[in-house]
């Protein structure tokens, strides 16, 4: 009961409501714009959160996360371009349905299923995050090391990229985290005598570079691309027939999305692909998928929004990001002096339940904004890239500079922009770099401390049941992409 009251706290704070309002609005705009999204947006807004108290800052970031994930569906349905990677599966049926003159129905279903998926996942978050946090009390250094390894092996199954390329990208991310003074012995590593590198490479320059700047370079190659827009009259709430057809799909995808979200490093993109393929597998009309199936939209959208709450579970309970955007939220927590983990649940329940409540409200807010404002948000995509991207560049540069007031950070951002562009061009996902970077210190620190405990005997890891379980799960995670690709070939 107390926790429920704590969850309702944002409703009674005008400041938090205002933050939620702007966060949801900003998240929707970011989600609608192809190439941007909650990860880039969160990274760009991070410096501004320094003016806010920790709860408001995290509420702002989480509302951007929830709304941005939904916003991608608007562009996916109306211009056949996913606003966010998580909305890729929505294009498959959303756009064909819009072409048939049913854009309003498609968006209505996307809005309802996203909201249900989002709310479902917050409920999962409220129940499972404290349980996982309690379990984390059993974790020592070896268990955290095994968990981090599990998170990294999960990178193999991120998105559609090659699993081995994803692992290379993840290892590259960890390698970046080793730049600077070794945090245990203060020995310089990869600094090449540059003083600014002694403190290591910051998270924000890398994220902004890999997401915003590399996207700017990508957009420079797509200037002749013409979008075929479908006109939208108004968003329509699904009919009773549509509800009857899709309620099982929405619930199933909400469950799938929440589960996928909880897995370290996985996020909305994987969740929506699995949600979509499972919707097709269980459907009575699988032949309609890809031609404008309302179940396809429900399956993909409920799953990607359900992944938002799920991804917050390991982020808050263990300090292991559940997705790229939660890696940004994790950075936000650290910047504001909040250390995620079991102690957070014991010492600051009002902070955590405030976040849970805010996520719940954000899901309701984007339903209202999406339902009444989708037509306006769709018009945002009309802003030409030749005006939009120079502006994003200005914000990226100032935002990156502002955190440490270092011009080197800006140059690092540009360098990672170029690296990110070529990575994406040759099929390397940039998300594993982010996850690797944020987990790097944890992996190395826990490995070294474990080896001190074990007196240098590596085999001792196998004598710890929880660590052994995570290592077995890691092996399964490495095998999963092979199994999934075989299955997908059968289904899609």
């Amino acid at each position: 009961m107390d926790n429920l009251l704590l969850m309702m706290a944002p409703l009674f704070s005008s400041k938090l409501l205002l933050v939620l309002f702007f966060g949801t609005l900003f998240g929707l705009i970011l989600g609608v714009l192809p190439g941007l999204g909650p990860t880039t947006g969160g990274a760009l807004i991070l410096p501004f959160t320094m003016t806010l108290d920790p709860l408001s800052a995290i509420v702002l970031l989480t509302s951007i996360y929830c709304a941005g994930t939904y916003g991608g569906a608007i562009t996916a349905i109306l211009i056949n371009t996913p606003g966010t990677p998580a909305a890729a599966a929505t294009c498959l049926d959303g756009y064909p349905l819009a072409q048939k003159g049913e854009a309003g129905r498609a968006l209505g279903m996307a809005t309802v299923s996203s909201t249900v998926g989002g709310i479902f996942s917050v409920i999962i978050l409220v129940f499972f995050a404290p349980l996982l946090a309690k379990l984390a009390y059993e974790f020592g250094q070896p268990e955290y090391f095994a968990l981090a390894i599990f998170g990294l092996t999960m990178l193999a199954s991120i998105g559609d990229g090659s699993p081995i390329k994803n692992l290379i990208a993840g290892a590259f991310g960890i390698l970046i985290s080793t730049i600077g003074k070794d945090f245990m012995t203060s020995i310089d590593r990869f600094t090449y005598g540059i003083n600014e590198l002694s403190e290591g490479i910051g998270f924000i320059p890398v994220v902004v570079g890999l997401f915003a700047i590399s996207e700017m370079l990508t957009q420079s190659t797509l200037l002749d691309q013409v979008f075929k827009r479908v006109a939208l009259k108004a968003v329509k709430l699904p009919s009773l027939k549509d509800y009857k057809l899709t309620w099982k799909t929405i619930l199933r995808s909400s469950g799938i999305g929440s589960f996928i979200g909880v897995l370290p490093a996985e996020g909305g993109t994987v969740a929506s692909l699995i949600g979509y393929s499972e919707a097709k597998r269980f459907s009575k009309n699988p032949e309609e998928f890809g031609k404008g199936s309302i179940e396809g939209i429900a399956g993909a959208e409920a799953a990607n929004n359900a992944a938002t709450g799920g991804a917050m579970v390991p982020t808050l309970a263990l300090g292991i990001p559940g997705s790229a955007t939660t890696a940004v939220i994790l950075t936000g927590l650290i910047i504001h002096g909040v250390r995620p983990g079991p102690d957070l649940f014991r010492e600051q329940p009002e902070f955590l339940y405030g976040i849970f409540g805010a996520m719940l409200i954000a899901n309701i807010l984007f339903f209202i904004f999406g339902f009444f404002g989708a037509k306006i948000f769709a018009r945002i995509t009309l802003v030409p890239n030749k005006i939009l991207w120079p502006m994003i560049f200005a914000v990226s540069v100032c935002g990156t500079y502002s955190l440490s007031q270092s011009i080197i950070d800006v140059w690092i951002m540009l360098l990672f922009g170029v690296i990110g562009f070529f990575m994406r061009r040759y099929g390397f996902s940039v998300v594993p770099v982010i996850i690797g970077l944020i987990l790097g210190e944890l992996v190395e620190g826990t490995l070294r401390q474990s080896l001190v405990i074990f007196d240098g005997n590596w085999l001792m890891f196998l004598t710890r049941p929880i660590a052994l379980t995570f290592f077995i799960l890691s092996l399964i995670a490495l095998a999963f992409p092979l199994l999934r690709s075989k299955k997908r070939k059968k289904i899609l």
Binding site: P390, Y401, Y426
Partner: protein, 169 residues
């Protein structure tokens, strides 16, 4: 369809060192090897201060992993060749040049000026010709961003010919 077949034939006929698979794998392995050699120059801590492993061991392991995985990726590309990427357009190289211009101007002249020059350069070469919009992206918007960061976040931008005038006013 014929074009795709022609392109596939063209790719097959390319010498191996011109193929993307080789170029990308070579660059990754080359850079990783240089970094691996660098790790041998890291200081070694005495056993009493050593925390589990030497500071160089972890990056060494990572680099060996990256090299090994890249070799596997290259080997697999024999069975399944990579998708042939389109040639990069002129606008890409111009955008890349604008980044270099940004670094040069921000280092020698002014941070604000660098943003303005990049914005007008990119906007113009991406096809914008209307004066108002060019002014919007190169002067009006950067001023708004500057003032916003300066007043809300209390940020002090690096000194330069324009930034100095702003701070004097």
């Amino acid at each position: 369809m014929n074009n795709v077949r022609k392109q596939k034939r063209a790719n097959k006929s390319l010498p191996f060192f011109f193929k993307d698979e080789f170029k990308v794998s070579f660059i990754i392995i080359f850079i990783s090897t240089i970094l691996l050699i660098t790790t041998f120059s890291f200081d070694i801590v005495p056993p009493i201060l050593n925390r589990g492993i030497q500071p160089a061991t972890f990056p060494k392991g990572l680099l060996v992993l990256i090299i090994s995985l890249t070799l596997i990726v290259y080997y697999l590309s024999f069975k399944k060749p990579w998708k042939i990427e389109k040639k990069l357009p002129k606008t890409f190289y111009l955008t890349l040049t604008s980044f270099l211009l940004f670094v040069l101007i921000s280092k020698t002249l002014d941070f604000f000026l660098a943003i303005s020059v990049l914005s007008i350069f990119v906007s113009y070469y991406w096809g914008e010709r209307r004066i108002f919009y060019l002014l919007l992206v190169s002067i009006i918007f950067p001023i708004i961003v500057f003032v916003f960061f300066e007043t809300i976040l209390g940020l002090r931008f690096p000194p330069g010919i324009i930034t100095n005038i702003y701070y004097q006013v």
